[in-house]
């Protein structure tokens, strides 16, 4: 899916701290970054990308344009997304992160261990197996746990996901089929807790509970909206409505079927093109320049 960068103005970080910032000895553990889009109309946000710098948890609030009558409201769209699994150690401290509008990673749910897939959320999983007359009710306090349960539930009964669809808002439903006659429904929250249409302003709330770090922030913040869909092309009439071909001339005895021959020739042509296009990757292993490897000193640059 193509995406287009949205020019944004990132305001300076504001530390949230109890008491006087100057005299207090403790370090603020919460920072707020406001992101405005002065020259852009309310748009649909596709992706937020940034480089982390020692931020442990990230929450994002968005102010959306509603109707012309009501003033725009702030809505939390991401809550306590974990960037550093252990806030006291360097793991994840300087990683590049992308957050998507609707992102559910099925693999991560299955393995229960992916960072970018799912954020914490509440959900209810409901499974009912008609054939065996059993019902299962799952209450999972993390999304990973929930979907993990759901999938293992399905798998245990030899089932699979049939479909999943977005219900609107931040809810999605997943439909699984197991056995001959059963339906499993899993309703869950996706990564962004709200719809990201008509974004006016963003507020990033950074949290770093560990006192070990001097400062923390996010860098290289970039916001993307969906790129334009590829323009629809009008095909010439003869391409979209080919003339029905005439009856081919009756086959002469002994010759192979021309359509078969043409398909085989096509495949052969494709093979030759592939071989021609592929470059050999074997290295020659030359380290000298035209046979000369006379060196004096090493270079520092």
């Amino acid at each position: 899916m193509s995406r287009v960068s949205v020019p944004c103005h990132v305001k300076g970080t504001v530390a949230l701290q109890v008491g006087d910032v100057r005299t207090s000895q403790g370090r603020p553990g919460v920072l707020v970054i406001d992101v405005t889009f002065p020259s852009v109309a309310p748009f649909e946000l596709q992706e937020i990308m940034f480089k982390n710098y020692y931020t442990a948890f990230l929450s994002i609030r968005v102010r959306q344009h509603t109707s012309t009558h009501t003033p725009p409201k702030w809505v939390t769209c991401l809550r306590d997304y974990c960037l550093m699994p252990d806030p006291h150690s360097e793991e994840g401290a300087q990683e590049y992160i992308s957050l998507f509008k609707h992102q559910v990673s099925w693999d991560s749910a299955w393995l229960g261990k992916s960072r970018e897939g799912l954020t914490g959320g509440l959900g209810i999983g409901l499974g009912y197996l008609e054939g065996r007359g059993e019902a299962g009710l799952a209450w999972a306090c993390t999304l990973e746990g929930l979907l993990g349960f759901f999938f293992s539930f399905l798998k245990a009964w030899g089932g699979s996901i049939l479909a999943h669809c977005w219900l609107g808002g931040s809810w999605a439903v997943s439909l699984g089929l197991a056995g001959s006659l059963c339906v499993c429904v899993c309703v869950y929250l996706c990564q962004m807790l709200c719809d990201m249409a008509k974004v006016l302003e963003l507020r990033l709330i950074l949290r770093q509970p560990s006192p070990l770090w001097v400062s923390f922030t996010v860098e290289e913040l970039q916001i993307y909206q969906q790129g334009p869909k590829s323009p629809s092309m009008t095909f010439p009439k003869w391409l979209s409505h080919p003339v029905p071909c005439e009856q081919p001339a009756p086959l002469i005895e002994g010759l192979p079927d021309p359509s078969r021959v043409s398909s085989e020739v096509q495949q052969m042509w494709a093979l030759t093109e592939m071989i021609r296009a592929s470059h050999t990757s074997t290295r020659i292993g030359r380290f000298d320049v035209d046979g000369c490897y006379d060196l004096n000193l090493l270079s520092y640059t």
Partner: protein
């Protein structure tokens, strides 16, 4: 593989429509499917996971900026040291050998050990203790390292807060080393009847080799490898098979050694003479070591590993063409400057492989998978910085009295164990024990076991260490590790120590 494919395609029974199916079938019956699986598995083990698309290449080498900078400054120091050696001794970094000298070297290729060049003026570019000083001074500018002692002070030498595993996590990671699982190195001792474990283990090993499955071999070797099967198992795990092209490649490297003389060669000679030649176990392999290490320096395929190594290869320009990019080359051609003790990475392999090109391939693969992490500054869990921190953390957590005592007498434990870990214990343990240890490095695809073993050695000699009163005395207690049995030590430390 391509050649085999082409050969099979020429067979008359292959039809074009079923080409895809025929190829799949051919893969299965000729064993090439397995080879392909092994190759893919090998790539997955070596290369890091694909990173974020916006991440620049240096982020893949090392994500933390301050570590990249530290590695850069360390490299600059090494370059300066090498350059000053060049200018002092008036020896060029590289020169083409005159024809007479080339012939002479070719004649004595198999007995380069008999050569006694004057190496007195050469000194190693750096020793492990110099590298330790750099690691001790490694600081994260964003990390609050207050002057006064507080909960955030690291009591050991390493002052960077990398994530390291604790014993519960190590128990889970090394679960096959547990008390209830059979191990070679423990359950194959003379008192234990072989029917209990050893015979069955050997039988399974032979089956794994027959199947030629890298992943299965890697799982199998976690319990140790029988001596007779070790060479083949390691080759299978590292996905090394001696094809004619590989032997040819090795011969090509040999030709490069004959044609060009590098300053690095003298460093290698000196290192071998100082370390392996003086070792009771390895001196017999001196000639092999030259044959492997000199060729290693000329191997440009090693440059590929710098994509995921925080280090970068040194650059130079052809004489008289300073600054012209077309005349920029890497020096040495493989980008790796050997340090004091480098030859000890190769020496234990000589027990397993006697054919020079195979020995070479195995060493090269071991280097680009594991050994490079032991002498470059990075945040990788198997990097030397993490290993040092893991060692110190384990010791502090589970032997706090010993740690405190050693610290008080000025004998920081890492000062003693660092040289063991940098060399992966080569030259310190008896060779059979060392090979059992390296089995597990391959099996778990991680060097963390070196840190655990170092802590286990301290735990084993804790009683004696508590009585010493100086660093020298502590070194003396830990000077001789040749009688240690590696697997019992590891098992006791991980699974049988009361915490």
């Amino acid at each position: 593989m391509e050649k085999r494919m082409n050969a099979s395609l020429q067979r008359p029974e292959i039809k074009l429509q079923s080409l895809k199916e025929d190829i799949k079938e051919f893969f299965k019956i000729s064993g090439w499917e397995k080879k392909l699986q092994n190759a893919v598995y090998s790539e997955l083990s070596v290369f890091p996971l694909p990173s974020h698309p916006a991440a620049p290449p240096e982020h893949l080498k090392e994500p933390l900026v301050y570590m990249r900078k530290a590695q850069g400054s360390w490299e600059k120091r090494i370059l300066k040291s090498l350059n000053s050696m060049c200018t002092e001794l008036s020896i060029p970094l590289a020169r083409k050998r005159p024809v007479g000298e080339q012939k002479e070297l070719l004649n004595k290729w198999n007995e380069m050990g008999t050569d006694e060049p004057d190496l007195s003026l050469f000194r190693p570019v750096y020793a492990p203790k110099d590298f330790l000083e750099v690691l001790i001074n490694l600081r994260n500018p964003n990390y609050e390292n207050g002057d006064s002692l507080s909960f955030r002070t690291h009591l050991g030498l390493i002052q960077v807060p990398l994530k390291v595993k604790d014993i519960p996590e190590l128990k889970e990671f090394f679960v096959e080393l547990g008390l209830t699982t059979g191990q070679l190195g423990i359950d194959d001792s003379t008192q234990v009847p072989p029917e209990l474990f050893e015979n069955e283990h050997v039988r399974i090993g032979q089956k794994v080799l027959a199947e030629q499955d890298s992943a299965a071999a890697q799982q199998y070797i976690r319990q140790g490898s029988p001596t007779a099967l070790r060479a083949e198992l390691w080759a299978l795990i590292l996905n090394i098979s001696s094809q004619p092209e590989d032997i040819l490649y090795y011969e090509q490297l040999k030709t490069n050694v004959i044609q060009h003389d590098l300053l690095v060669d003298s460093l290698i000679y000196k290192d071998v003479k100082l370390t392996a030649s003086n070792d009771d176990y390895y001196f017999v392999f001196e000639d092999y070591l030259y044959q492997v290490l000199l060729c290693f320096s000329r191997d440009t395929s090693v440059l590929g590993h710098f994509a995921y190594n925080s280090a970068s290869p040194p650059k130079s320009y052809i004489r008289g063409k300073l600054g012209l990019e077309e005349y920029a080359v890497f020096y040495p051609p493989n980008g790796v400057i050997p340090f004091h003790g480098f030859s000890m990475y190769v020496a234990p392999l000589c027990f397993l492989y006697h054919e020079p090109s195979k020995l070479y391939q195995i060493f090269r693969e071991m280097y680009v998978r594991f050994f490079f992490r032991l002498h470059s500054i990075s945040s990788h869990p198997s990097g030397i910085v993490s290993l040092c921190l893991l060692f110190e953390t384990l010791l502090q957590t589970y032997l706090p009295q010993l740690f405190y005592h050693l610290r008080e007498i000025g004998a920081q434990p890492l000062r003693i164990s660092f040289k063991w870990m940098v060399r992966a214990f080569s030259g310190y343990l008896a060779t059979d024990q060392l090979l059992l240890l390296w089995d597990r490095i391959l099996g778990y695809n991680s060097l963390e076991i070196l840190a655990v073993l170092a802590a286990a050695v301290f735990a084993f000699r804790a009683v004696n260490l508590m009585e010493v009163t100086s660093l020298a005395a502590a070194e003396a207690v830990l000077a001789d590790l040749s009688t240690l049995k590696v697997m019992p030590l590891l098992q006791i430390f991980l699974f049988a120590t009361v915490t």
